[in-house]
């Protein structure tokens, strides 16, 4: 593999590293304090979750879902009323939240997929409607606090079984186990490929890549261990990212999203029900929005009328920064995670440096634009 292709392939990772270094220096190292690393995950959990769902929508042809911020608010409002005011059991309330999200997703998905109303319009209408309904349910007020047992599902930390107060050993052990498993997995799958006579990347390249990945993982987990250990929310996010990576890369359903975005006519002529693909994208988006609603409700310890405002922009931005094509058909969950991390780092770094909120928006807007320009230009070159 040539140096240049490694550079263009991993451009966003390199940019992220540079941005992290910049803020580490700019904040005098505060950026990488254990608590800040922890916050990076806790504050941005909803971005990872929503961006994963948004990727599927964008894959179908650059289609976005504008309604998710309002959807998070509405589902949260329903949950808060059930849990706090009506004292329903938590797990039943959570299921009701999921179901109401799915109903809304099916409604929007139906118009988009089967009547071919442009997604932009359907979800713009949703953005207004669901926000309005949420306010009606909340009567314009904030409902709080959430029961501790609900918050604990998302805000707690995995307890340290070794009982070291300074450093969370469990966290480090998990990191080492994952690293070892990762090494074993990549090396055995490479060996398998060689056995079947498939092309493989050079061993040195694999080794260097693995060492870098594991080093980053260990450093990250070490920071978490210095704080309170593994946040439960990290497990939620990791599980969702892993599941959706599997779906997009390994399953036929996942393949359909790419195919529809790549060339819808060719996909339809290949015997694939393209309407169903659009429907699934928006149904799934609502499903993940409901999960995000749990997370946000626990994080804010309340449901309030402005919760979820402009979340859709964070999700869309992460996807495009992470290399999803604005025309659909290309993009990976891995890329989206990088995009979300970059957005998170920008947010956190600028907040620590005390950059004015309005300037923060200017910076984020510019990053988004240049990411897409980069994507379009690099495609033109290879076309």
């Amino acid at each position: 593999m040539k140096a240049k292709s490694i550079l263009t392939k991993n451009a966003m990772i390199i940019v992220t590293v540079i941005v992290i270094l910049f803020f580490s220096i700019g904040t005098g190292g505060k950026m990488l304090f254990p608590q800040n690393v922890n916050n990076l995950i806790a504050q941005n959990a909803y971005v990872f979750i929503l961006a994963t769902g948004m990727l599927l929508c964008i894959l179908t042809g650059g289609n976005i879902d504008l309604s998710i911020g309002s959807l998070v608010c509405l589902v949260g409002a329903i949950g808060a009323v059930l849990i706090v005011q009506m004292k329903w059991p938590i797990w039943i309330s959570m299921i009701v939240m999921l179901i109401s999200g799915l109903v809304i997703g099916a409604w929007q998905g139906y118009w988009i997929a089967y009547k071919r109303i442009p997604p932009f319009i359907v979800t713009l209408a949703g953005m207004l409607t669901w926000r309005g309904l949420a306010n009606v349910i909340l009567q314009g007020l904030t409902i709080s606090p959430m029961p501790d047992s609900f918050d604990a599902l998302f805000n707690s930390y995995v307890p340290d079984i070794f009982g070291n107060s300074k450093l969370n050993i469990t966290c480090l052990v998990v990191a080492v186990i994952i690293s070892v498993l990762f090494f074993l997995f990549t090396i055995t799958s490479r060996a398998n490929k060689i056995r079947k006579n498939y092309d493989v990347e050079p061993f040195q390249y694999l080794l260097i890549k693995n060492i870098i990945i594991c080093a980053v993982l260990l450093a990250f987990m070490f920071k978490l261990a210095q704080y309170k250990g593994i946040p439960v929310i990290l497990i939620w996010v990791a599980a969702i990212v892993v599941i959706y990576t599997y779906i997009t890369e390994k399953t036929t359903t996942g393949r359909y999203f790419y195919a529809v975005g790549g060339n819808e006519k060719a996909t339809a002529l290949s015997g694939i029900n393209t309407n169903k693909v659009y429907f699934l994208a928006y149904l799934n988006m609502a499903f993940l929005s409901s999960i995000a609603a749990w997370v946000v409700m626990a994080r804010l310890n309340s449901a309030n009328p402005t919760a979820g405002t402009s979340y859709e922009m964070d999700a869309i931005g992460s996807c495009f920064i992470g290399g999803a094509s604005a025309y659909g058909g290309t993009g990976t969950t891995g890329g989206v995670v990088i995009g979300a991390i970059l957005m998170g780092v920008l947010n956190l770094g600028m907040s620590i440096m005390g950059v004015d909120m309005n300037w923060q928006k200017v910076v984020k807007g510019s990053v988004l634009l240049f990411a897409v320009i980069f994507d379009v230009m690099s495609k033109k070159r290879t076309a």
Binding site: T251, R255, A259, K265, L269
Partner: protein, 522 residues
């Protein structure tokens, strides 16, 4: 003798891999109607694009002499300034604008910041009157029929002070009455001194209105320009010049077989299809055809004859509405509701437009190969990527696709190799009946030969092939039996032995509908 208005000298235009025009000479006298005739791909449209500046000066070699001076058009605007106006086959009108708005689009009356609508509508009305169209200039384009739209295009051309009007197949979407009215209008304008070039496939129309005829074949002008009154112009002479190329040994041989008693793989009876947008337009009219097991049938015809529409409507109703008629596969009557159904019934349709309808250009060969048969590389919805790679590699080897590897994006391959990937995709779907729509369009001779070999291999395995092609030699070289289509109907069926380029072309260009009589007797 009238003076020469236009003289195109030694025009050569190459596209990557293809010489579209090769040293073409073409001249038009002032005040005549000049017909430009040739098969699909003969270079007529390219020549007109060079003339109108769509292919700008420098992208071709040769000279354009117009009205006594050498012209170097950089864009269509330059040629329009000189009064050369082209009307494309696909009308370029905007449906949700009025006639007047369309007519003066880009050339609005009044000031830049203040369009004078009254003046614009009044002027539009004047030109509409000239072409004999009785519609208000405020009528939306979407509310008038194609015949009237064609007249609006001509009125638009007149509004630009046209001296030389180029019409690319102006009657292809008109009915008989409208066609005749249009040709009469041209004859009328001729009297007023307007020069026109008309591109057409319809010989009766040409002999009705043209003063001289230039014939193009394979990017070169064939013979001297035929002039009415000087040369003895016959339909046969035109047909012969259109198709008269040498049939060299460009086709791999296949043992001759008699299919009269072979089992029938697929049959359609009384198939009718209507246009998906214009409900009253019948695109396919009472078509019946039969395909035997192991047979290759060729479907000849010109663009717009309804060949693609017929095949797409069969392939899971992917085209048209109100489809009626019976479809039998292996003697059993079936209804194919969607493309999935068609694939399950072992049909495959290799599309004509491989970039638009066939392949996902931004995806690798591997993904494209498995797309129509993902079940074949997955268990319970989980794709076995290793198996997928292996299958893609097998097909690359089998079809001799030239590529660095199966992870190469299809968009980066040459046309011939893209076509092979498309074939691989459908071969992997394991069909019994393959419909190939223009399987060798835009690919080089070597790749063509390889694709012909693949077709022969497929029928040797007992599969049946329906091949749509606009290239007559290809139809003749590969088919066991040939159907000729024209205007949505089957106008002829020929056994390979009795078919020649001339008698196929004769069936294509001579319509036996009332239209020809109408015009000739007029």
């Amino acid at each position: 003798m009238a003076k020469e208005l236009l003289k195109m000298k030694h025009i050569t235009k190459t596209f990557p891999g293809v010489k579209a025009l090769n040293d073409v000479n073409f001249s038009v006298l002032e005040g005549e109607i000049h017909a430009l005739v040739g098969e699909n791909g003969a270079g007529k449209s390219t020549l007109m694009k060079v003339l109108s500046g769509i292919w700008e000066y420098g992208s071709y070699t040769g000279d354009i002499e117009y009205d006594g001076e050498i012209c170097k058009f950089q864009s269509i605007r330059d040629s329009e300034k000189k009064g050369i106006i082209i009307i494309h086959q696909e009308l370029a009108l905007i449906p949700y604008m009025t006639i007047a708005e369309n007519m003066f689009l880009g050339n609005e009356k009044g000031k830049n910041y203040n369009i004078d609508w009254d003046k614009e509508n009044a002027e539009a009305a004047k030109y509409l009157k000239e072409v004999g169209l009785e519609e208000s200039p405020r009528t939306m384009i979407k509310n008038i029929g194609t015949g009237k739209q064609q007249l609006v295009e001509i009125a638009k051309a007149l509004s630009k002070d046209a001296r030389l009007l180029i019409l690319d197949e102006p009657t292809s979407s008109l009915n008989e009455k409208e066609s005749k009215a249009l040709l009469d209008l041209l004859l009328d304008f001729k009297k007023k001194g307007l020069t026109s070039i008309i591109i057409s496939h319809k010989i009766n129309e040409i002999s009705y209105c043209a003063d001289s005829i230039t014939i193009l074949r394979d990017g070169a002008s064939i013979g001297e320009t035929l002039v009415k009154g000087q040369d003895n112009i016959t339909d046969d002479l035109i047909i012969q010049r259109m198709v008269g190329r040498e049939l060299t040994d460009r086709f791999p041989k296949r043992p001759k077989q008699d299919f009269t008693n072979a089992p029938v793989a697929m049959e359609i009876r009384d198939w009718n299809v209507f246009h998906p947008l214009y409900e009253d337009r019948k695109v396919i009219d009472q078509v019946s055809l039969k395909l035997h097991k192991g047979e290759v049938i060729g479907i000849a015809g010109l663009m717009g004859a309804g060949r693609t529409e017929l095949m797409m409507s069969i392939f899971g109703r992917s085209y048209g509405r109100n489809i009626t008629g019976d479809l039998y596969i292996n003697g059993e009557k079936v209804v194919l509701k969607n493309t999935r159904d068609a694939i399950l019934h072992k049909l495959a349709y290799v599309t004509e437009d491989r970039k638009g309808n066939g392949l996902i250009l931004s995806n690798p060969i591997r993904v494209n190969t498995s797309l129509a048969n993902l079940a074949g590389v997955s268990t319970n919805g989980v794709i076995d990527k290793d198996l997928e790679i292996k299958i893609a590699q097998d097909y690359v080897k089998k079809l001799n696709t030239k590529c660095p590897g199966v992870e190469q994006n299809v968009g980066n391959l040459s046309g011939g190799n893209q076509q092979k990937v498309l074939l691989a995709k459908w071969m992997f779907a394991d069909p019994d009946i393959l419909i190939l729509d223009e399987p060798t369009r835009g690919i080089d001779v070597g790749a063509k030969y390889e694709i012909y070999c693949i077709i022969n291999d497929l029928v040797a395995e007992g599969k049946s092939v329906i091949m749509i092609s606009s290239e007559l030699p290809e139809i003749l070289g590969l088919s066991d039996r040939i159907y000729v289509m024209n205007e949505g109907k089957i106008t002829g069926e020929l056994i390979a032995d009795e078919a020649t380029q001339e008698n196929i072309m004769a069936k294509i260009v001579r319509t036996d509908s009332g239209k020809s009589n109408d015009i000739k007797s007029a």
